[in-house]
Amino acid sequence: MRMLINVPETVVADALRGMAAAHPELTVDVERRVVVRRDAPVAGKVALVSGGGSGHEPLHGGFVGPGMLAAACPGEVFTSPVPDQMVRAAAAVDSGAGVLFVVKNYTGDVLNFEMAAELAEDEGIQVAKVLVDDDVAVTDSLYTAGRRGTGGTLFVEKIAGAAAEEGAPLERVEAIARRVNERCRSFGVALSACTTPAKGSPTFGLPEGELELGIGIHGEPGRERRPMMTSREIADFAVDAVVEDLRPSGPVIALVNGMGATPLLELYGFNAEVQRVLGERGVPVARTLVGNYVTSLDMAGCSVTLCEVDEDLLRLWDAPVETPALRWGR
């Protein structure tokens, strides 16, 4: 177990204490596991609340701040948070303009956020919910729990967060969030499994010279195992999977995302291949983001997310954001 931890049981609490120390611009309630932007509630503005299992950092806590999330609820590693956290977060950030829950589509997240929404409404908070399900590796059918929420989450949180910051009312923020999700597609590849603190060994065995195609962000095995591929081949496969599903007719924003242990050097090299395929497929790229944003602990690998944008969404993407992990504009 090559981990920089004390004991598995305190990993999340320890991280929150460390986050509190590093980010005076956030209010971190370590006990209750809620990360809130310091100036919340912001009068007259809709507040975005998200959350999910820990282990995907900087998602979601690293996206709390002006222009993005008002609050985040970190669960245990790979375990959705509990409704109490979400209700507290909603209460802490609601200015009266309402709260949008951004929920990644996993059974656990969906159920817990649903319960939280009911409880929050009981407390008089107006709550809307948007489900993020962008992962094309999962067939959305009666025979699955539906597509997973992965890299698309960053787009939903950034763009809907910008709309909220502009003062858009809840229905519009919700509609934009939904629109962004509909225009986002992702595909992920693992070059190694990850190791959860609780298990202490890799979540699946992946022999040297093989990779997993179509992985999620929870260390679960993918849809298919194949002999190792080059960066070029992986880009062909992943971008094709995304483009064939999204069929964009306009420009996209590309997220080339690292799963955690793949060096930035490799991610940039992979981005070169992603851009090449997009060029070959005739997909114009409006913006590109490369880095570790929606991770899976110490997994090596990457994912590609494309978000098709119109002028409005691109403007909201470019709008100022000021969080630990995403910062631009102003």
């Binding site: 669960g75 245990e76 790979f78 656990g108 817990n112 699955t144 729990a145 609780a198 979540t203 679960e220």
Partner: protein, 211 residues
Amino acid sequence: MTQTFDADFLVRWLAAVAEAVDREADRLTELDSAIGDADHGANLKRGFAAVTETLAKDPPATPGAVLTAAGRQLISTVGGASGPLYGTLLRRTGKTLGDDGRVTREQLAEALDSGVTAVSQLGGAQVGDKTMLDALVPAVEGLRDSFGAARSAAEEGALATVPLRARKGRASYLGERSVGHQDPGATSSALLFAALDEIARTEASGAEGAS
């Protein structure tokens, strides 16, 4: 005379579940690692430890209240899919039991049946989807006969998930690759009914001893 069970019986049941889950946590996590995200053991360990603590601190007076409190605690502590699902199972069962100070096995089976229905409604899963329901549904059926029958039915149900292809929960992402693995939630459900049988036996022998 039909045997009846009081709040303390249910507290002892949940304590036995906590012990079993603690003992079997690594196995549950291992199963979840194969087709899920390797947290089921830790989730239930954390949850039932909190349940035990809550019930010890503030012991409810009726069987129904015990289960309702336990369910609430699971919902507030576990997270993931199993938190709301097991939480709802116990909460709904408790609510159905109502305020009676003692309940019969048949009443418990009836109430658990409503709890299991609630789980199915909440998660949208059916028997055969490779979830906890594959153990819970036959277990409740068995409970109408005896604690022992409930236990074996749950164990068989859990084993029967091995050849299934998952249609709900994380394992469904794997498609065909979920075949050949036992569902962690069905396995933990079997632990619930094994513990129930155990406690009922102690109770019975205790009762015999006392009689």
